[in-house]
């Protein structure tokens, strides 16, 4: 099921570190890699279309895993 989320890109430094999308409703999603490096910038405001991958587990464990299908940048940090 595809979902659409608006939020901010943030780096998490737990364990080795990972990229997350913190939605405007303050829910943290872990961005599934590999993802477009243009998207992975601290503080970037974005709107993404993606898929929640409940079949994937990670070492970061900071939230649900989000596979990004499409995105648009709303504002630079």
């Amino acid at each position: 099921m595809d979902i659409e989320i608006r939020g901010t890109i943030k780096q998490s430094d737990l364990g080795i570190g990972t990229w997350t999308l913190v939605s405007d409703a303050n829910v943290t999603y872990e961005i599934m890699q590999p993802a477009d490096s243009r998207l992975l910038q601290e503080g970037l405001k974005v709107k993404v279309r993606g898929k929640l991958r409940s079949d994937v587990m990670t070492m970061a464990m900071v939230g649900q895993v989000l596979q990004i299908l499409d995105y648009s940048i709303l504002a630079e940090s």
Binding site: G15, I16, Q33, S54, D55, M59, A60, M61
Partner: protein, 634 residues
């Protein structure tokens, strides 16, 4: 003839023992030189000392704070380090290692020390009373087990779990720990650790090397080569590691690979599985694999997750998996750690938040791993990923002592923790892990299986969807309050006949007890605060949002009943609610004063009792007066 045989045997045995006993002198490892200068030494002596220090990159220390007057100094390796020291194997004279970012030498060879010692004797002899190698006595011999790994002093997490005392009894020998992770690379400080064959489920081959750095770090916590004069220590360093790679270089992997790895571990002789990984989604495939391994006698441990969420992630959340939450160096729940339902025990995971947003490396868990380029580094990480292998390591120490059923291992782990008396939100599970008392308990051996089930049931771990933690509320206290409230109300009614109505009964109930069962009610994924709020009596309202059962002096007082009476006295029905509340608050405060006088801000028990007692008396006066004035109207 028999006698002759006995004599031969005796001397043979004696010879064998002596030839195997190396003696104290033969263990002559020394890592420093002790120098005692003559009481009238010339200042030249210090210059010579300084010269030798610089030549061999050593540091001079007075032996202890008491040594200065005795002119006693030690020359030891320079130990100034910046964070993340990397061994670069830069060749120093005669094959010693130096770490970049860390000026400490990992230790000179014996011959090299002998050379330095000779030079010190030659140069400094005339100024000195004595110059001696500062022997580090083999610790097993004297009864301590402090390892000689140079960075061990930075592993607060190991001191935290009382590891040295545990090593006296067990080092994990004979136990196989499967590390289901990003793979494990045999970095320099895992060279002396034993490995068994693993598998790479990501690339489907036999080489389960790490291409991320996470799995190697986790394996280090479990079984880093220890007492090898290099790097850091690990918990069960005589256990064997089975590397199973299921997470790719980005640290993510599929449930099917993880499930396969669990089955592989169970089929290839693993005793323990550590999974420093997780996700929010439940999966039948994963659950079946866990049941399979559990039924084969494998103890399964997993990290609770790092989103500060009130339930553990999967797989930690499955009943047959030991879910581990993380604590910081101070022993508090780490800011990121998940908690609540599914957390069985807590262990050090670190907290690297420094002042003003900086990174505080010292607060993390330090192990040897690889960097992005695959080079060996010593790095500090934080996370429940780091907490889980502490439990896996201690489980290995326990299993090594002959306790092999997963339910028994869990029982030992849980019963040997440092208990947290006040943990209503289940931050810590059974408590903080303690390696020394775990092996102590394991050495007692006998554990009653029925005891374990009774224990499980009593602590509410048996239901998979919700559970009630009986430890959170004191049921006898609540019963005393309920019965006391009704008795007091009955007494008052004897004096002033009033009708016993619905509002009055509710007032009695909510004032002193509330729906107290809800306070200890946990549902997976739901925040616990609403339940605590619903489950709170008036007296307890002030501690709903804090993780404690200590009473808040503002709500545990006459204040709220007084305000309620002022505002509700004009209302025909609700005034009875207010009167009922005043009565039960009075009883609740009295009961707390007698049985449970824990309060916020008032730490002295007798002061707390006095405070509660005075307020109880005021509540009684309030109830008495209002019941008296109102009873005529009914």
């Amino acid at each position: 003839m028999k006698k002759l045989l006995a004599v031969i045997l005796f001397f043979g045995a004696l010879f064998w023992v002596l030839s195997n006993y190396a003696g104290l002198g033969a263990k002559g490892e020394f890592n420093a030189i002790a120098i005692e200068l003559k009481s009238t030494y010339s200042p030249d002596a210090l210059e010579v000392l300084e010269k030798i220090k610089n030549k061999y990159d050593l540091e001079i220390n007075p032996n202890s704070v008491f040594s200065q007057n005795l002119n006693l100094f030690t020359l030891s390796p320079n130990s100034k380090c910046t964070s993340n020291a990397e061994p670069t194997k830069e060749k120093l004279p005669e094959g010693t290692l130096r770490w970049s970012g860390c000026t400490r030498l990992t230790g000179y060879s014996d011959e090299y020390w002998q050379k330095i010692l000779a030079e010190v004797r030659q140069e400094l002899g005339k100024y000195a009373q004595a110059i001696e190698p500062n022997y580090e006595y083999k610790l097993d011999f004297i009864g301590s087990t402090r390892p000689n790994d140079p960075l061990y002093s930075r592993q607060w997490n190991l001191t935290n779990i009382n590891i040295e005392k545990a090593w006296e009894k067990s080092k994990g020998k004979g136990v196989v720990v499967a590390v289901i992770d990003t793979g494990v690379s045999r970095v320099e400080d895992l060279q002396k650790t034993e490995f068994v064959k693993g598998y790479d489920f990501v690339n489907d081959d036999d080489d389960a090397s790490d291409d991320n750095g996470h799995g190697t770090h986790v394996a280090g916590t479990i079984a880093q080569s220890t007492n090898n004069n290099l790097g850091v220590a690990g918990i069960a360093y005589e256990a064997k590691i089975m590397p199973l790679k299921v997470l790719n270089s980005f640290g993510a992997g599929t449930i099917t690979d993880i499930a396969e790895a669990i089955r592989f571990a169970a089929d290839h002789g693993a005793n323990i599985i550590n999974m420093s990984l997780g996700g929010a989604g439940e999966s039948a495939i994963l659950k079946e694999a866990i049941d399979y391994a559990y039924n084969k006698g494998v103890t399964i441990i997993a990290a609770a997750g790092n989103s500060n969420y009130p339930a553990a992630f999967y797989p930690a959340r499955y009943p047959k998996v030991i879910g581990v939450s993380a604590t910081s160096a101070t022993g508090e729940k780490a800011f990121y750690s998940n908690y609540g339902a599914g957390v069985d025990i807590s262990a050090p995971g670190g907290d690297m938040r420094g002042a003003d947003g900086t990174k505080n490396e010292a607060g993390g868990i330090l192990q040897n791993t690889i960097n992005r380029e695959g080079k060996s580094i010593y790095a500090s990480f934080q996370g429940t990923s780091m907490a889980s292998p502490h439990v896996a390591g201690v489980a290995a120490l326990i299993e090594s002592m002959g306790i092999n059923k997963p339910e028994e291992v869990l029982n030992v782990l849980k019963q040997s923790v440092v208990k947290i008396p006040d943990d209503p939100q289940n931050f810590y599970g059974a408590g903080r892990i303690d390696a020394a008392s775990a092996v102590q308990l394991a050495s007692k051996g006998k554990l009653d299986f029925l005891d374990f089930f009774r224990w499980l049931r009593d602590n509410g771990y048996l239901s998979p969807r919700f559970w009630i933690d009986g430890g959170v509320m004191s049921i006898p206290l609540k019963l005393v309050i309920v019965v006391g409230s009704y008795l007091l109300a009955w007494l008052l009614r004897n004096w002033f006949p009033f009708s016993w109505n619905w509002s009055f009964t509710n007032g009695l109930f909510f004032g002193g007890t509330g729906l107290f069962i809800l306070r200890g009610f946990y549902v997976f994924d739901l925040p616990q605060t609403p339940f605590r709020l619903l489950g709170s009596s008036i007296v307890e309202l002030g501690n709903v949002f804090s993780n404690t059962n200590a009473l808040n002096p503002i709500t545990a007082s006459v204040l709220l009943p007084f305000l309620m009476l002022i505002f509700l006295l004009g209302h025909a029905r609700w005034k009875w609610f207010a009167i009922g509340s005043a009565i039960s608050v009075c009883v609740a405060l009295t009961a707390h004063a007698i049985f449970a006088p824990e309060m916020m801000w008032i730490t002295d028990v007798w002061q707390a009792r006095a405070y509660l007692g005075v307020n109880a008396a005021l509540c009684f006066g309030l109830a008495y007066l209002s019941a008296k004035s109102e009873s005529g109207a009914v």
